[in-house]
């Protein structure tokens, strides 16, 4: 059935019609929230709240891209969650390295990976490294880089989701990429050969 019909029925209070839309967009919403928050539980909560908020405020949807509209709500919910997290930072699980005595603050290193293939381990570590670099970005930069580089949206749709002009999207994306590049220099060994960055060159 057409998306417009689901939206119209959902506006009239049809929860089942709205759930068709939920099933269509839940993966994109969840991944945006997960990359923004880097926390699975928080991302689930944010996704659930996004769809509930979307249903409650569906009458304010005036047409256009429903995906952009619902992703904007997801981004706003993620911002709210980040703000709360900033107010009440959670205590990370930390252990000390037996050799150096330094604090190891990455939970993924606590996993027992002895029985896992090396490629899988590398992939996980690479993902963790990239995610750490994303976490260091300002939240506006973070949303843009997730939308364009991870989820593959064009500048036009990213500007609709972020409610910012295309010039702003372009600027934020360029700066975000530059910062991630600087951040990833510390994780050269994790990157595949073709993605290894030239440490010597500066902008």
């Amino acid at each position: 059935m057409d998306e417009a019909i689901f939206i119209r029925n959902a506006k009239n209070g049809d929860v089942d019609a709205f759930n068709h839309l939920v099933l269509t967009y839940q993966e994109q919403v969840f991944n945006l929230a997960y990359r923004m928050l880097n926390n699975k539980m928080a991302a689930q909560d944010a996704t659930q709240n996004t769809f509930i908020n979307a249903f409650q405020h569906l009458k304010s949807f005036r047409g256009g891209s429903f995906r952009a509209w619902v992703l904007r709500i997801a981004a706003n919910n993620s911002y709210d969650e980040l703000r709360r997290k900033k107010c009440k930072p959670s205590q990370p699980l930390t252990v000390l390295d037996t050799e150096t005595g330094e604090e190891m603050d990455d939970p993924i290193w606590l996993e027992d990976n002895r029985n896992l293939p090396e490629e899988y381990i590398m992939k996980n570590e690479l993902e963790e490294a990239i995610q750490r670099c994303i976490d260091q970005l300002p939240k506006n930069y973070r949303a843009v880089v997730i939308l364009v580089d991870i989820q593959g949206f064009g500048y036009q749709e990213a500007s609709r989701i972020a409610r910012s002009p295309i010039g702003t999207i372009r600027s934020r994306l360029a700066r975000a990429r530059q910062r991630i590049q600087e951040c990833l220099q510390g994780f050269q060994e994790l990157l595949p050969e073709k993605f290894r960055l030239n440490l010597g060159s500066k902008l």
């Binding site: 929860v15 709205f18 759930n19 939920v22 099933l23 839940q26 993966e27 919403v29 969840f30 991944n31 997960y34 990359r35 699975k40 689930q44 996704t47 659930q48 709240n49 769809f51 509930i52 908020n53 249903f55 409650q56 992939k123 690479l126 993902e127 990239i130 995610q131 880089v145 364009v148 580089d149 991870i150 989820q151 064009g154 500048y155 372009r170 600027s171 994306l173 360029a174 700066r175 990429r177 530059q178 991630i180 590049q181 990833l184 990157l191 595949p192 073709k194 993605f195 290894r196 960055l197 030239n198 060159s201 902008l203």
Partner: protein, 291 residues
């Protein structure tokens, strides 16, 4: 070829957008020119491409479960919004209550002063009213009845009865505090004209003159009328006891203007306190119910 090695932020943006194929034809040509002319442009473009490729390596996570919603979840999610409104109302009423209490605490003298001021003005008003009321009352007339003039000089018709005259007090009023005698000298001599007239009359007057009280030598109050004859009556000033003196402050009724003010202040405090507590309790109850 450009000599400097640093790229501007605008050039960085152009290179980044070039990577995404989000440039106009004009900007694309500009970037291609930059890549051929600027030695730092090509390495930067490569680095940006590497970052973009690395980000693409991140997997798209599958959702842990469906996020479909139910009508119950929608209605339950409205509770926090209501709780938020209640919390806000509670906070506002608490602030207002604090302001009212602080005002009441810091400026108690204002109320007391206004109360005192009202009492004083009330007393003054009563006093003035009493004076006017007393003045409108009938002024007692004190007649002085001189005795028959004794033979010899120095016995005028001046003030007082010189120990021999009869003092008739109309209305049985006491002797006033202030009496001004018609004569101002020791011998009791009076001005010549008045003396001649009075002397002529003295011979005709009986010993006791009660029917025709005379008004000669009176000091009139503002309300009293002018004398029509020249008999030797003295208009006395009302005795102090009967004038508009302040009899007692106890008789002055207390002003009641501050009472509504006090009541409204207390009522406001009570209402605000009740509102604060009620809304806070309701908000807490709703939050607890949601959990």
């Amino acid at each position: 070829m450009k000599k400097h090695t640093q790229l501007s932020s605008r050039e960085l943006k152009l290179l980044s957008a070039y990577l995404d194929d989000e440039l106009s034809k004009k900007d694309q040509k500009r970037v291609e020119r930059l890549l051929s002319d600027h030695p730092a442009a090509s390495p930067l473009l490569k680095k940006l491409w590497q970052v973009k490729s690395a980000l693409k390596l991140l997997p798209i996570h599958k959702v842990p479960g469906n996020f479909t919603i139910t009508a119950e979840e929608v209605s339950r999610s409205q509770i926090p919004a209501l709780a938020g409104v209640l919390r806000f109302a509670s906070a506002v009423s608490a602030v207002l209550l604090a302001i009212v209490l602080a005002f009441d605490f810091i400026f108690p003298y204002r109320l007391a002063a206004s109360e005192k001021g009202l009492s004083r003005s009330g007393a003054e008003t009563t006093f003035e009213e009493k004076i006017v009321t007393s003045a409108e009352e009938e002024v007692p007339i004190i007649t002085w009845q001189p005795a028959a003039p004794p033979a010899g000089d120095g016995y005028g018709i001046g003030g007082g009865d010189s120990g021999t005259g009869n003092l008739d007090l109309q209305n049985e009023m006491p002797i006033p505090d202030i009496l001004i005698a018609p004569s101002d000298d020791q011998t009791g001599e009076i001005p010549s004209v008045a003396q001649e007239e009075t002397t002529a009359e003295k011979e005709q007057l009986p010993q006791v003159v009660e029917e025709e009280p005379q008004a000669d030598g009176e000091i009139y109050s503002q309300e009293s009328k002018s004398p029509e004859d020249e008999s030797g009556t003295i208009l006395g000033i009302r005795p102090s006891e009967s004038q508009g003196t302040i009899e007692s402050f106890d008789e002055i009724s207390e002003p009641v203007a501050e009472v509504p003010e006090m009541i409204s202040t207390r009522l406001m405090e009570i209402v605000l306190a009740g509102l604060t507590i009620t809304t806070a309790l309701l908000a807490g109850f709703l939050c607890k119910r949601k959990k």
